[in-house]
């Protein structure tokens, strides 16, 4: 078993020697290192040299710059700090605007009703089937509106002839109480076919029915 020699007992580490020089050790440790140094002249010379270095150091303190240097430096520092604050203020405003815009957009998306997805949407030009033709029964329709029909079929696609001129012999027409029966002036030789649901303009040569 190896044993330390008495002279090596308590050999201070470098950090302890630094603290010894600065007087930062406990009194007991300070004294034990002083004792150790008395038995180690080379180490003692080193510590003494370092002590003298510490004494020389304060005598070489750099001279203070002129007041003008400080004054101009302060102006530059203040200017830099002001610029930094202005830039930071602008950046903060931009960030706030960005966040506000993002929130508004998000809110808009959330509040907008959902539309059918792309797979369900009809292709361009394809009519949107709301009801089938069988669901609608068109009772009457003006001829001019026929082109606007999106579903169903017009009740009458052309002139509806209920009777030919040979089938009917008019002895006279009297206006009805509601005025819906046209008043036609008849004579013995003129026979006009009666038609209903005049979806198309009457044939050329025929008089327009009066309202």
């Amino acid at each position: 078993m190896r044993q330390s020699r008495p002279a090596d007992m308590g050999t201070p580490r470098p950090e302890e020697l630094a603290a010894y020089l600065d007087g930062e050790l406990s009194p007991a440790r300070q004294e034990s290192i002083a004792t150790w140094l008395r038995h180690h002249p080379e180490a003692a010379a080193e510590i003494e040299g370092q002590r003298r270095l510490a004494g020389v150091w304060p005598t070489t303190t750099p001279a203070e710059p002129a007041d003008a240097n400080w004054a101009s430096m302060l102006v530059r520092i203040e200017s830099a700090v002001d610029r930094f604050r202005s830039a930071r203020g602008r950046n903060r405003r931009r960030i706030q605007l960005g966040i506000t815009g993002l929130a508004a957009g998000l809110l808009l998306v959330l509040l907008t009703p959902k539309e059918p997805g792309p797979a369900e949407a009809p292709s361009a030009g394809e009519p949107l089937a709301v009801v089938s033709p069988d669901d609608v029964e068109i009772v009457s329709l003006h001829a001019a509106d026929r082109a606007t029909l999106v579903v169903g079929a017009a009740p009458v696609m052309g002139p509806l002839v209920l009777a030919s001129s040979n089938d009917v012999e008019l002895e006279g027409v009297d206006p009805a109480d509601d005025g819906m029966i046209p008043s036609i002036h008849m004579d013995e030789r003129t026979i006009i076919p009666m038609s209903v649901a005049p979806l198309d303009p009457p044939p050329a040569g025929l008089p327009e029915p009066r309202p």
């Binding site: 710059p65 430096m73 203040e78």
Partner: protein, 197 residues
């Protein structure tokens, strides 16, 4: 007629000055600048070896410190935080401008004049001027590693405690102490070849 002396108001703390600075009070910035400019300058000068670069480093350090107060979380004092920023700025300047070359040129006159003979500091006949001694110390500092130089300067020039130096550099107190020992050893050896130390 009775003379009434106004009570001496205590100087505002760094914390209160920083709070006023955050509110945009320009006087608070000026007070912080006046309070620490010389200390910061001395540290920068020791790290760089000349006045012009040291002034640039101090200005850069103050600007960085005052525009990044959000990074200062109050775990250390403003003084130690500022010195950290200033010393980092100084070393950055040193790297950019080649501190060692500048120093070796400026101190070559000492070697030429004295022919490398050991000089006694306390011998008036030798007449080693203070400025020459300072330049010799600057040259000795330039032989240290950046870590040793910063540790030594913060302790010797800024008079920071071991704990404060450890806070500034983000290292343990034990590392501060060992760096101090080896830095002093190297400085002493360098100077001992040139002056009687």
């Amino acid at each position: 007629m009775a003379v009434v002396s106004a009570p001496c108001l205590p100087a505002p703390s760094d914390e209160s000055l920083l709070a006023r600075l955050a509110d945009g009070e320009r006087e608070a910035l000026e007070e912080l600048f006046r309070r620490y400019r010389l200390l910061a300058y001395r540290v920068a000068h020791r790290l760089l070896g000349n006045e012009a670069d040291a002034l640039d480093a101090v200005q850069e350090g103050f600007i960085k410190a005052l525009t990044h107060l959000d990074s200062f979380q109050g775990r250390s004092t403003f003084k130690t935080w500022l010195l950290r920023v200033v010393s980092n700025a100084a070393l950055d300047f040193g790297r950019q401008r080649g501190r060692r070359e500048t120093l070796s040129l400026s101190t070559s006159r000492i070697r030429d004049r004295d022919s490398m003979l050991p000089l006694a500091l306390d011998d008036p006949a030798i007449g080693l001027e203070r400025e020459d001694l300072r330049r010799l110390l600057d040259e000795a500092l330039a032989t240290l590693s950046e870590a040793q130089r910063k540790t030594f300067v913060l302790h010797a020039e800024a008079e920071l405690s071991y704990r404060e130096v450890a806070q500034v550099l983000g290292i343990s107190i034990g590392t501060v102490m060992s760096r101090l020992y080896y830095a002093r050893q190297k400085l002493r050896a360098y100077l001992a070849q040139r002056i009687k130390l």
